[in-house]
Symmetry: C2
Subunit: 238 residues, 2 copies
Amino acid sequence: MVSWFGRRAKRLEIPRLTGRGETLPTTKVDLGELVPPLPQFLGQAAYMELGVFESLAQAATAAPSITVKGQLSRSAGLALAKHESLVDELRRRGTDPAEAMAPFSADLDAFRRMRAGTTWHETLIGCYLTAGLLDDFFAGLAAGLPGDIRSQVVKILQQDAGFAVVVREVTAAIATDPKLASSLALWGRRLVGDTLLIARSALHVSGDLARDESRIEPVFTEIIAAHTRRMDELGLTA
Amino acid sequence: MVSWFGRRAKRLEIPRLTGRGETLPTTKVDLGELVPPLPQFLGQAAYMELGVFESLAQAATAAPSITVKGQLSRSAGLALAKHESLVDELRRRGTDPAEAMAPFSADLDAFRRMRAGTTWHETLIGCYLTAGLLDDFFAGLAAGLPGDIRSQVVKILQQDAGFAVVVREVTAAIATDPKLASSLALWGRRLVGDTLLIARSALHVSGDLARDESRIEPVFTEIIAAHTRRMDELGLTA
């Protein structure tokens, strides 16, 4: 089992499910103790989405064609819509959104810069894998939120992110140059490690590590399975 | 009178209206002959809005605070919404949006890079003044479009662009460092020249220059008046 609470999640063992593509049931575990206070949860998720918007807009500007530029811009707009919906939830509760996001801005800005990688295809994969994993993670963790906000947050996070363009562009690039696959797969593995550190930082640990681990494990298993499916879609070995 | 159809609009005389802030009546002139075919009109306007989205997203990433980043991202989203609405109009008419935008991408990409300027405040002013002027211009030119599309296009272009943040940030910067005003005013004057070249490139000239000029002049007078009001708002001399 991967330790979510170790000091560094350096050597991740990525479980591979055999039944790829099947929809996993939503985990019903008591995550209440692991969920941070609502303003923190919403602030971190909202700033995460804002960063996805920024990264996708950057990828759109560097797009090789007008069609792809338009599609990546649309994806950026969908991430922005998630950000704005989460900010609206903060405002509705009388919380200043900028204050709620502030504690997370330094780490998430650094994460956004990391995700850009060194090539356009790395940026695309960086957006897709990290946004996919963190959307799943926050939606999973939301199971521990109070009932009135839980379903709203899950709905926001699970909205379509318009990433089909990423799958098309990356698989086309690999078809043209099969040697790309191994370096992009390495990039995907680097990304998942850094993304899990961000996810881990969102958890409100109780101090009882064994208990915390057993509670978060099912969420973890699901999000890694979904991540592995994304890598498969991209034609990359997880 | 400024020549819209001269080879270069290098030395623009910017008319200054005395009645600043008053709403000018929409000009009722026959612009039908000056309006390019609808796919060209929509393609150029749509790609223009996509570039505004890109520039504002770039400005958002460089924003000095989370609040301002959020506000500029929102503005970027509003420009993207205009782009997507114009693209929808193209699709509704069976026109491939990428094909319709393609003839304008090189000039508008160069224009977008120019508009970024060399400082963050120049980028902000670049977005506000050029998007404001071109929204006004295309909305004015739309008076020459067929009736069924005219009001829809004007409505799209005149949607709120969320530029209050630009006015706040620029006037605050000038209040802190009054010497900024003269260099930013110069920047504003440079921008208007380049923006009018983009506007001019959208006109479908008839060959009868004097007649074309007399038709477009009222639109031109209105958009320059609105531009001058924007410069005033920013605390800059037009």
